[in-house]
Assembly symmetry: D3
Homo-oligomer: 341 residues x 6
Amino acid sequence: MSKKVITFGEIMLRLAPEGYFRFVQAETYGATFGGGEANVAVSLANYGMDAKFVTKLPKHEIGQAAVNSLRRYGVDTSFIARGGDRVGIYYLEKGASQRPSKVIYDRAGSSIAAASTADFNWDEIFQGVDWFHFTGITPALGDNVTEICLEACKAAKEKGITISCDLNYRNKLWSKEKAKEVMTELCQYVDVCIANEEDASDVFGIKASDTDVTSGKVNHEGYKEVAKKLADQFGFQKVAITLRGSISANDNNWAAMLYVDGEYYFSKSYLMHIVDRVGGGDSFGGGLIYASLNDFAPQDTIEFAVAASCLKHSIEGDFNQVSVDEVLKLAGGDASGRVQR
Amino acid sequence: MSKKVITFGEIMLRLAPEGYFRFVQAETYGATFGGGEANVAVSLANYGMDAKFVTKLPKHEIGQAAVNSLRRYGVDTSFIARGGDRVGIYYLEKGASQRPSKVIYDRAGSSIAAASTADFNWDEIFQGVDWFHFTGITPALGDNVTEICLEACKAAKEKGITISCDLNYRNKLWSKEKAKEVMTELCQYVDVCIANEEDASDVFGIKASDTDVTSGKVNHEGYKEVAKKLADQFGFQKVAITLRGSISANDNNWAAMLYVDGEYYFSKSYLMHIVDRVGGGDSFGGGLIYASLNDFAPQDTIEFAVAASCLKHSIEGDFNQVSVDEVLKLAGGDASGRVQR
Amino acid sequence: MSKKVITFGEIMLRLAPEGYFRFVQAETYGATFGGGEANVAVSLANYGMDAKFVTKLPKHEIGQAAVNSLRRYGVDTSFIARGGDRVGIYYLEKGASQRPSKVIYDRAGSSIAAASTADFNWDEIFQGVDWFHFTGITPALGDNVTEICLEACKAAKEKGITISCDLNYRNKLWSKEKAKEVMTELCQYVDVCIANEEDASDVFGIKASDTDVTSGKVNHEGYKEVAKKLADQFGFQKVAITLRGSISANDNNWAAMLYVDGEYYFSKSYLMHIVDRVGGGDSFGGGLIYASLNDFAPQDTIEFAVAASCLKHSIEGDFNQVSVDEVLKLAGGDASGRVQR
Amino acid sequence: MSKKVITFGEIMLRLAPEGYFRFVQAETYGATFGGGEANVAVSLANYGMDAKFVTKLPKHEIGQAAVNSLRRYGVDTSFIARGGDRVGIYYLEKGASQRPSKVIYDRAGSSIAAASTADFNWDEIFQGVDWFHFTGITPALGDNVTEICLEACKAAKEKGITISCDLNYRNKLWSKEKAKEVMTELCQYVDVCIANEEDASDVFGIKASDTDVTSGKVNHEGYKEVAKKLADQFGFQKVAITLRGSISANDNNWAAMLYVDGEYYFSKSYLMHIVDRVGGGDSFGGGLIYASLNDFAPQDTIEFAVAASCLKHSIEGDFNQVSVDEVLKLAGGDASGRVQR
Amino acid sequence: MSKKVITFGEIMLRLAPEGYFRFVQAETYGATFGGGEANVAVSLANYGMDAKFVTKLPKHEIGQAAVNSLRRYGVDTSFIARGGDRVGIYYLEKGASQRPSKVIYDRAGSSIAAASTADFNWDEIFQGVDWFHFTGITPALGDNVTEICLEACKAAKEKGITISCDLNYRNKLWSKEKAKEVMTELCQYVDVCIANEEDASDVFGIKASDTDVTSGKVNHEGYKEVAKKLADQFGFQKVAITLRGSISANDNNWAAMLYVDGEYYFSKSYLMHIVDRVGGGDSFGGGLIYASLNDFAPQDTIEFAVAASCLKHSIEGDFNQVSVDEVLKLAGGDASGRVQR
Amino acid sequence: MSKKVITFGEIMLRLAPEGYFRFVQAETYGATFGGGEANVAVSLANYGMDAKFVTKLPKHEIGQAAVNSLRRYGVDTSFIARGGDRVGIYYLEKGASQRPSKVIYDRAGSSIAAASTADFNWDEIFQGVDWFHFTGITPALGDNVTEICLEACKAAKEKGITISCDLNYRNKLWSKEKAKEVMTELCQYVDVCIANEEDASDVFGIKASDTDVTSGKVNHEGYKEVAKKLADQFGFQKVAITLRGSISANDNNWAAMLYVDGEYYFSKSYLMHIVDRVGGGDSFGGGLIYASLNDFAPQDTIEFAVAASCLKHSIEGDFNQVSVDEVLKLAGGDASGRVQR
């Protein structure tokens, strides 16, 4: 029987000029949906897990389109509260070469940002659930959402559900001070911590030494240090850190490290030609949760998570549209991209 | 030398599935811009007038794209204030046959809705201006915007500028009671009142007898009555009422009446196959202002305004992309649509 | 609690040149999915019912895309068998004016056409179900599929589930003789019979007198006769006949008649500007089942079914994307297509 | 063995905004090819005839794309001379409702307009040929092209080939005086004359009484008069006149008259919802030539030609993409547009 | 006078999501045509040769569209038999970076797969022909097609026509055992054998030592060995082997070797950024045949074939759209991709 | 107050197949506008300068669309003369990998090529202007345009306006001999000379030793020599030379050198993944003028110009859509392309 996972957060309308057009050139936008925790839910549903995404969305057709985008890929949407005024939006302009991608958020006042604890009955939501996942974006939506998160964490902990959190710092949503305060409280419930090469520093002030994220180079020793500090400070069972080396908007190096039981496991590193970079971190989280729930060994776990997210970078949209077989094939070493007939 | 016109209001991002796709089917949205007063400004610029649109827009690229959409068609954007958080949005689903078009507004919190009187220096804006136009949508954005409107009306009045107002009642923005209160105050400055077949009733409770707007039929005598009451109550020099007979989402009858100096002037009526109905009323306003500023006789005025807006219904987008020559040709009687080589 | 409906049949990949392009002009095809019973399931899911579609589809990604197209709109796909070689295809060229739409089928050898009774456990499938629907297309796929249909009908009858069948004669799939033989056997289990103006004649040789389907006119008395004969011969509780008057590929008249308890109920007639005609009959079936399951009075039932299918003709694709509210609004008399803001 | 037809003239690149977008709105153009005589050749190739199109086109890829557009539909392009500087262009904006379609020509200096008699060896071209067709546009391209036309007509006449000419007056290319002079000379070689409701008047000053082409009405008696005068003056065996009644850019009435052996044959009249009106007259010519070469009776000839061109109005692009069977079906009376499965 | 070449095989409808969309994301497919031998015919027609493609296609419009796709590029389609039920299909999902391209075949039951020897009169087809080409895919379509191939080979051999065969093993169509048996028989008629780095091993069990096709590296010595064995075993005059080094789905190394008269000729190697990889091998075959028929020296032959196929990788669709001049320019050493004005 | 710049030249309609389609494959063209001096004007307007573009364009809608394309991005179009027959065209096929981009010009007879000195009143145009820019393309349009250029240069010189010229040799427009003669006369008025790695040689026969532009390598010493010779011969204050190393159609190295006051300043070099290469040189000119007018130090000037044009290569269309901030960020060293949120 497939494992049950709940993810909780915001799903936004993603408005993106096609190809490499800039915002000021476009008169058509791709209109899809995405958001950290929704992306993780889709990853898991694509791996055959029973994934439910919890949020609040307006009753109107744009809200319904968001629901449909999740149902299409097999995510259970029955716990999505309906009401409120608007679907949050993010505008995405795809970068190329030396020109970076650009994201403009227009998410204030969304249904989930205006939700209250009364919208979610966590006792019911968590029936029979194995894993609960959220990111640092969700509590950043407002004090009311922080409170909902806290309720969810407490309810999950009570039921013995594993809790994972991707720190995912967003400086447009809150200050580092506020983030530190709130995340410190929430992280006491968290078992598995996921972070990218900047989050630990932004949220908790925990830095890898000698790393310049704009240089395309990362310092492995520094990240071991960061992971250990995080685990020591919050009692995380696992800490996973993604390591992105940005050569250009088109080319990135991609790898990660898993820290568990005092050991460090580094994945292979991939040089990726990027189709769509957004959701890359979330697909890593999805891979990590899948591997963990299926009791992969630590090295296999980090290889699965990195291969899954490597593939995501070749896929349009926030959602990672890959199967377990495809991930295993890449994790197993076939990165040649030869035609499959 | 071309006449100078100021219009003031909100310009929104218009997100519309292509063709007849419903919201829940679309994964691409046409992304253009429009809004009552902006549409009037474009009409006038296309007629060769010196039209300036005044609003507030964010500094980011989506705000810039809104500015560009106006500049492209020759509207002067130099008095647009820049700042605030977001561009208002409306989602548009085009109807067909018995299925109506659908509009979902997502405009709360837009830069103009959050603007203050300090954003606009009307003394400077109105230098050398001949005409000022706004609609009932603008004050409905909030008390702050009502106040800006009031300042603008007073400044315009002081300078002897003709003021026109399209009543344009929007029930999602305010109650009929509130609308009546605010519009009653603003209308004392207005010289030319434009309304459709429902506005006078919605805003001021002034009704045409025996008219059912969903039946495709209109009662001419009733509208004469309405126009006279409006003029009497507010001292309008001119009252223009558009008469839409909706046969289906694709087919509408379209005509209008002008009341001036105690006389009623009815236009020809057109049976229109609709390409895009949004902005139809605004294009009527644009035609009316053009004809008025160019001293057309009353019958010629109403024929020009109706022909202009008839053509708008054949054009994609909010903006009416027609020339004076094209309008005059139709108003002059050539409605056969024969190829122009 | 919402009623449960099972529909069973084939879902095909629909390949259609965009707009009015002919097959020989197109280098892009819209690629969506549809099929008689699948279309009914989507209608019902959109009305909030618990609709499950049963079929067999290949395991590969094209099969998965078919599944996803159903999940997206809320249809339960958990009883879809996976296996076999291919997804059936139909090519659709949209007609205009005097040029008819054209359908080319390429469905031989599809997974469902090659399925066996072992693929479906009807006992399990029909747990808690209220209604079972299929069409005359399904048994026409082959003797093996006829056998599956028969098993399904028997199982449904045993559980007291209401069974509806849309006769839907397809001359490319079987002869009139074969159709008569098979449908005569299956119809003994059927409670509600749906047919268009030609089916009864094609399948059972029961004809309406004085009707020429290419003339745009239909003979009401004749259809009363047909319905009565059908009910008398097979013991149907209800017979519903759709009445299409084809003026051109763009313009059709649309109405229907319901025969129940010895009474004839004729719906209003709609003059439709057609966006997409395919699935029109299926959307009628969906409306009829919804109204029946919700105990609408006979006149309300036929008005709902016809209004639902009238709206379908304004919607792209096989699936009817309308809500109960939208159908009720039209059935209630508002056919003016005025913008909904 | 299929009959051989030569058509001679210009094929242009047709640049058209998609859908109903105006020139000033579009940032994409459909890029297809068309031109009076090329359109006739495609019609005939689609009917299974051996049709060759003669012109001159540049050697570069845009010239090659023009050649390919003809080969694709089976037109023999082996006598197309290659050389010169440019492919002529016409920009086409599709009208709707009261807004007319608009054509902007940019054809000066095209390879064919700059061609000389040395480019074409008519003796070789006309080997085994049954019919030669050109239009009044071709000699209007310049005196050099008039000379080529004259050579072709003489060579064809010598070989006993039937010659047809569609008068097709284009006021952007030459004056009425010049047209009259040139066409008077060329028409002495012509056996079959085709004209629309305005051409006879524009080119030869022969008018139908009491007809206003912009009113949507035509006067049958007047056209009989025109045809007779044309035949009498130039000795044409057949005169065919198309009768377009333009109700709007979307809706036209369409019929024609054939005058042969002193008798007048009027076709049925069709009310058409127009998809693309350009090439409508050429498709009439194609139908007329096909029917003539296949010895249809006069009434069948005019019905075939009108049905063929009626169908063209439902098809995107200059080329008429219909088969003999489709034309015969419509000419035979089935105009209902019912789906063909 | 240009050389005449016959190619024989299947042409399929190629359905491909645009850009890098996965099958489960796409709602539009590019709809073009392609297939091993058809691709070679188009290459040759683009080089100015008289290329005829022989196959069987249904009479309906999808079959006609396949014919048109070939005529458009100058391929002679007059020997294509018409009849049967369907056009074979392949679905193509373009890969990127570490994600491979994916092909799903749906070709069973196509007209050519169901054809018989009676459909083709090889005596007539081979009149005046210089070269005959087929691939290992064609006999794999079924025993009936193997028989047709055999007839063709015998007829060609009798007339002294050079025969080339691209081994092209497809494991979805037949087993290695069956392939070996059939190809062994057919290869006795073959003069020129083309293979990629895996075919010789898959079909005849002839392997290059020390080569791992997923590693991006090839072993030149091994391929010399393979070519010699092939030539020795079947008496081929020429053996050409393409050497693809797959770095990722976007980046491949590309080169080839020609073995003739006991000598080995290696081409330059190209690092390619891939636009569309499908048809890469066929374009090599096209180049090889062109060079051979035009008596290029061996080194020039292999350089031409590799340059031709290198360019193909930069072109969308199965067909190689390049001219002799373009190939010669690259083969001559200008690989800089500088703009040609 | 922002600096005023005039640029003078031709703006053409740019017709380009989308993506990597070749001309012979495309049935849709992107339809935008561009041209050397227009591109510079857009760059400057995007940097907030008061940029006016001077040309002549027809009065029709295609001419208007060209005007609108400039207004959209803030270029002042009030000095554009209207009249003449046509908008010049260039067809652009985007290259990939080893396949070069291809440009076909169709610009003869354009309004500006047929303009006369009477169309432009340089005294009025140059009121309050700081900089005048043109390229070698403009005088190449014809002797009449050379004369206009000369008038402009003289008028500018008289008013003390800085004059820049991009040599931009186009061999389709004139011979090297003619270019040398004309440019020698015009260059005596020029203060700032811009050239690419080939122009100096093509126009003036001044060559860099040991450089092969197709090899991807450039010789720095050689360019120092070239710049010095140019400055010495014509008295230029500044000479800027762009250095493009073409690895493939997708990948170029990009750098430049500025020679001023006897010193040579080399920029950083960028390895670019190209989105659209056309307009790359013009964006360099735009950057150089901006930096010069804002008194950047020489090294900062060349870094700004190169960073600006590096970014251009990542942007679709002729126009460089970047802000001063974006250029400064890249020039400052952040070339990692990391997402901007």
